[in-house]
Symmetry: C2
Subunit: 288 residues, 2 copies
């Protein structure tokens, strides 16, 4: 089953667009987990047990596991194995933000899909489609490519105004507005990234985009460019993105098409189950 179908099925079954980010920073774990043999896995197991009927996906960020070296990577694998064995319908998104030249990406493909058994991975677009082909060739797996990221300084390069002809056949639809159209075909880099991915990269139907909830205006622009493509949307919760603005801007024509990720605000809360349920329900309220 393709990643898109798997995601669609669990979204329907759990009536949820919520992804819980397993950003299990070992320094921030509650004391009772820190003293266990596999602290990150034990904590993740607790979070998964609390939230598995409320989510469509889990998104462990590789950085928090790599920080603990080989042991951390082993606990990341234990986490992915636990999800697959106990909740095989839930999607596993490895947030690793990888991207190397083609030959080398084969190693990351093995890490994400053969070793961890993830369903999707996040990727940097900077090296272009040709470099990322080993990921794009995984027809059953998702390639979730950074487009407009949630951090305050994401505009430094992503918002650079550029001439679209160099980047493919960009057509910014009317919905984007005239302020993006100065000088005829001038647009911004994240528009070109979205356009190229939607039009040229997605021949296997396995591409998604990362668009931060902290930029709802840009999210609406990217929705207009990318059709009904699904977006992974971080930035709700600890980063302060506005949920309603995000959903208004980001939902596709089927009232789906965005996966809302929340990490710290759920996993480090007093009651992860309650926080996850509350956010899932808030999302659904705006969808209907």
């Amino acid at each position: 089953m393709t990643f898109a179908l798997k995601l669609d099925a669990i979204i329907t079954k759990h009536n949820s667009l919520l992804c819980v980010g397993l950003d299990s920073n070992i320094e921030k774990l509650p004391q009772e987990f820190k003293t266990q043999e596999h602290p990150q896995f034990a904590f993740n197991k607790y979070i998964i047990d609390q939230t598995h009927d409320l989510v469509c996906a889990y998104k462990p960020n590789s950085a928090f596991y790599e920080a603990c070296g080989a042991n951390g990577v082993a606990e990341l694998k234990m986490t992915c194995d636990y999800i697959r064995e106990n909740h095989p319908e839930i999607a596993i998104v490895l947030d690793a933000k990888r991207g190397d030249i083609g030959n080398t990406n084969e190693g990351y493909v093995k890490f994400a899909f053969s070793y961890l058994g993830a369903d999707a991975i996040t990727l940097h677009p900077y090296l272009g489609k040709e470099a990322l082909q080993p990921f794009l060739d995984q027809t059953e797996k998702g390639c979730i490519i950074l487009c407009k990221t949630s951090n305050p300084g994401s505009g430094e390069f992503q918002n650079i105004r550029c001439h679209s002809r160099e980047g493919g056949n960009l057509e910014i639809p009317d919905r984007v507005g005239d302020d993006k159209r100065e000088s005829g075909d001038v647009t911004k880099l994240y528009h070109t990234v979205a356009s190229n991915i939607a039009k040229n990269w997605n021949t296997n139907g396995n591409c998604m985009l990362v668009v931060g909830a902290t930029y709802p205006k840009e999210l609406a622009e990217i929705r207009a460019i990318a059709g009904d493509m699904t977006f992974l949307v971080p930035g709700i919760g600890a980063q302060g993105g506005d949920l309603k603005a995000t959903l208004v801007a980001g939902l596709n024509s089927a009232k789906k098409g965005i996966i809302i990720n929340a990490g710290r605000s759920i996993i480090f809360s007093e009651n992860p189950k309650e926080e996850a349920e509350k956010l899932r329900d808030e999302i659904n309220e705006f969808r209907s």
Copy 2:
């Protein structure tokens, strides 16, 4: 000691701009290593023992170790430990091409510098300086940022013509040539990346750029933008970059400023020591 000083000292001591890429793909290892308990480490130890007096740096690419999961990461650490313990003057560049939002990059900082003990790491620029600050704050460590990558499709986004005002205070020097200057301040994305890093990111003097040997014209342009900054230059060897053109375009005013990386063409050769020596000497011939 800062990374820049460490690199400078070993370049002088070994009279070498050569970096050997420890791209120790387990599938490509000679049979006698595959059967050992720690095959990637055993192979790397052999390569290091053969070449340590010929290089200024080793560059293991994390992808080839992650492909083997936690065991591979442990062998990557064994490799870094071996270099540090036996050849502490040689620089260790972790080729990991990371880049996440600020909070998360702390995890990668720990992986690269605390766990592995690397001296430098390669990074994606796409999220901007603000996101990469946890790396830039490591004053003793090197931040080697992708600028113009060696792969055939690197132009998809990197060569997009853009309006430089959005990306900082870009001034392309005369040396770049008039074909880059259509429409007054129009330039290409990799120019803006180089300019921002040289002018705004490098306050701790710990930034370097990745520029592929497969693009000598672009290398010359980036040299003109970035002053005497050191570049890590992959693409010689298996990828077919021309050594002389690379050196003419890339050497700085001190006849240094580039680190030539070769991986597969050395480590998988019949005689790695001979290949490394030959390449080091060829580089030095052009320098003098």
